[in-house]
């Protein structure tokens, strides 16, 4: 008994104290091998894509030229710095400039020497070009490197999905909590409002909006958020409807604890289990929401890399199947990884598996 009590306090995960329940959940999560591996794969891809500028960039990380060191990845240097003719920014994919630099030094380039906006002017064939030694996955129809665009597109899709998920979770949990906790007319009114609200066709709203503002990242996020927050409400509401009937909530009320504190301290932690289980699926739907908008051309401004935009290019250029196939594979892999993670999370919170 004492030994058990001691290990309870010693058990730590990433420096945080772990309760026995959380420990069982972690173990359950790990027991789902597919989900566990998927999580690691996803994290590697995501964290890697956060450093996309160091992986896929036309600007070298470090240049030694004529005794001096330069870091073009952070600062802009004119061509004249390296003995060129023009005072414009140096194009490090230009064979002339490469020759100039290498005559008096060297440069360390990212593994993929293309930014998602940089155009390959030395293509030789009409764009989109086939996969080859210069562009590993080929180029899109504007001679931009496909791999670089996939990496940046992956990053923006996942970031967008994460931000949208977090924001809609916060709003959805708050809305569901208020409805479930207070019940009665609050609940009834809110539910009818949501039924009407969810009937608004979001695509039309976006098309109308696109006609008078240029939909930026944050604009899109805001508009999708207007509709996306409802995904968690029903689950959280149900949990709060159940939670508010619990005796420990009654006990807290008998102690004079205020409603807000009861909701936060007593009901929310118990309601979050159901919400957490749904989160990976909400994240997935957030990612596909942006992808589908980009595919339809209603999404991010032209020129920005996104999985949906690449998919649209693949559809427009069926003679260049590498565009469609690679973008499909990346999207499918991303969504599958997240679903596998979601299944493992569901296992971890399964009450039948966490009971003693």
């Amino acid at each position: 008994m004492t030994a058990a009590a001691d290990t309870e306090h010693r058990d730590r995960f990433l420096g945080m104290k772990v309760t026995p329940l959380a420990r069982r959940r972690l173990d359950n999560f790990r027991a789902n091998r597919r989900g566990f591996i998927s999580l690691w794969l996803f994290l590697i891809l995501f964290v890697g894509s956060l450093f996309a500028e160091f992986i896929a960039n036309d600007k070298p990380i470090l240049v030694k030229y004529d005794g001096g060191y330069y870091m073009p990845i952070f600062t802009m240097y004119p061509e004249t710095t390296f003995g060129g003719e023009f005072p414009t920014e140096a194009d490090y994919n230009d064979p002339v400039l490469i020759k100039l630099v290498e005559s008096k030094g060297w440069m360390i380039r990212p593994p993929i020497p293309w930014h998602h906006t940089s155009v390959n002017y030395q293509l030789g064939t009409p764009a989109p070009a086939k996969p080859g030694p210069r562009n590993w996955l080929g180029t899109d129809d504007q001679a931009r490197d496909l791999l670089a665009r996939l990496i940046y597109g992956f990053r923006i899709s996942v970031l967008f999905g994460l931000i949208l998920t977090v924001a809609s979770t916060v709003i959805g949990v708050a809305a569901g909590a208020v409805q479930g906790y207070f019940g009665g007319w609050v609940d009834l009114g809110f539910q009818r409002f949501m039924e009407i609200w969810s009937g608004i066709p979001r695509l039309y709203v976006l098309i109308i909006l696109a006609s008078f503002v240029e939909p930026s990242f944050w604009w899109l996020l805001g508009i999708l958020l207007l509709f996306h927050w409802m995904s968690l409400v029903s689950v959280v509401r149900a949990e709060f409807l159940r939670g508010r009937q619990q005796d420990y909530v009654r006990a807290a009320r008998a102690l004079g604890v205020s409603d807000a504190v009861i909701m936060f301290r007593h009901v929310l932690p118990n309601a979050m289990v159901a919400a957490l289980t749904l989160l990976p699926f909400v994240l997935n739907s957030s990612i596909t929401a942006l992808t589908s908008l980009d595919f339809l051309g209603l999404g991010l401004p032209p020129g920005s890399a996104s999985l949906g935009e690449i998919l649209a290019q693949g559809k427009a250029n069926l003679q260049a199947p590498w565009i469609g196939i690679t973008s499909f594979c990346v999207l499918a892999a991303l969504l599958s990884l997240l679903i596998f993670v979601g299944e493992a999370v569901r296992d971890a919170f399964d009450p039948r598996k966490t009971m003693v």
Binding site: T19, P20, L188, Q246, R250, A254, L255, G256, V257, P269
Partner: protein
């Protein structure tokens, strides 16, 4: 229902308490009726005493207890605790009043938040109502754990690590944290093993002596109530049918329902048990949304008279301190029959 026989001061005075829950139905959620869970209940609880509240399940005992602490918004009536009518207090005034009245719940598993440690659970009332420092709170929690017989070492554990009896001790410690005067014990032993029940009841008695507590002890266990209560109130279908000092009630019950209840108490001695004549009530408890006309018990009463189906019996003090609401004890049985006959005559006239 004032208790003139007692010289003690009442701590809790309940007058004509009504707790009706509306029933909504149909597309427009119209109010189609109400469940009269508590329908006009009056009693006093004197300082330092234990008032037992007994009755079968669904009779409104727990609702009555919860309404007393205003966990529900009461429909009608007044609840005066320590000189303040809490039925009409505003939320902020009520919050200030909360420390004087507390509750121990039936199911210790459900009444403790599974995600809070024992320390956090017992400390919560202190967080809400006091300005003690963290260290003082810690000390107070340890003192309370000592008082209810819990090992201090368990403060960091979660409720699931405890047995039912230990959990109920945690619930009692939480109720005691703010030094209340009045505690509603809502079937505190119903969810416990028989061997543990005695421990918890003895603990409650010890604490009553130690802190001068006043209990409303809600239970359906008549023998346990006999052990702990000073006076006993019997409820049936939202009404108190009999209220008397413990011994008077158990030795000479006046209301037929009380008689039937007491005859159902198991007798440990088999030779006596064989001779006990049980009063078996027929039928079921009527729905509290549609109580019968007249006396609530008239549908099942073995001694039902015509008047019982017509008029609701008023509560009378039949003997000193012994109240009952039954037509049998209105005056003598002769006059009762007479009044019943008169009543029927009146009714007939009305009908014509």
């Amino acid at each position: 229902m004032l208790d003139a026989a007692s010289s003690k001061k009442p701590l809790v005075e309940v007058r004509d308490l009504k707790m009706h829950f509306p029933i909504y139905a149909g597309l427009l959620r119209r109010r189609v009726g109400e469940v009269k869970a508590v329908d006009g209940v009056s009693f006093d609880v004197f300082e330092g005493e234990t008032l037992g509240l007994v009755g079968e399940s669904g009779c409104g005992k727990s609702t009555c207890g919860r309404a007393l602490l205003r966990l529900y918004e009461v429909t009608d009536g007044s609840i005066t605790i320590d000189g303040v009518d809490i039925a009409t207090l505003s939320n902020s005034e009520l919050r200030e009043k909360r420390p004087t009245m507390q509750m121990v719940f039936q199911d210790p598993q459900a009444s403790l938040n599974p995600r809070m440690t024992v320390q956090a659970i017992i400390q919560e009332p202190l967080d809400e109502h006091t300005t003690l420092s963290t260290k003082e709170k810690q000390q107070k929690v340890y003192d309370l754990m000592d008082a209810v017989g819990l090992n201090r070492r368990f403060a960091g554990r979660y409720p699931h690590a405890f047995s039912g009896g230990q959990r109920q001790r945690i619930g009692i410690a939480r109720a005691l944290a703010l030094n209340p005067k009045f505690i509603v014990c809502d079937e505190p032993i119903a969810a416990l093993d028989v061997s543990i029940q005695a421990q918890v009841v003895n603990l409650l008695e010890d604490l009553q002596e130690q802190f001068g507590l006043t209990y409303l002890f809600i239970s359906h266990d008549l023998s346990m109530v006999r052990h702990i209560a000073t006076r006993v109130a019997v409820m049936y279908l939202g009404k108190i049918v009999e209220l008397a000092p413990r011994e008077a009630l158990y030795s000479a019950p006046l209301h037929p329902y009380t008689e039937a209840l007491l005859s159902a108490v198991p007798e440990p001695d088999p030779s006596i048990e064989a001779k006990v004549e049980r009063i078996i009530l027929q039928g079921d408890v009527p729905s509290p949304s549609n109580p019968p006309k007249g006396c609530n018990f008239c549908t099942r009463c073995p001694k039902v008279m015509p008047i019982c189906r017509q008029a609701e019996p008023p509560t009378r003090e039949v003997r000193p301190g012994h109240f009952t609401a039954c037509h049998l004890h209105e005056t003598t049985s002769q006059t009762t029959e007479k009044t019943a006959a008169q009543y029927e005559a009146n009714e007939r006239q009305h009908g014509e």
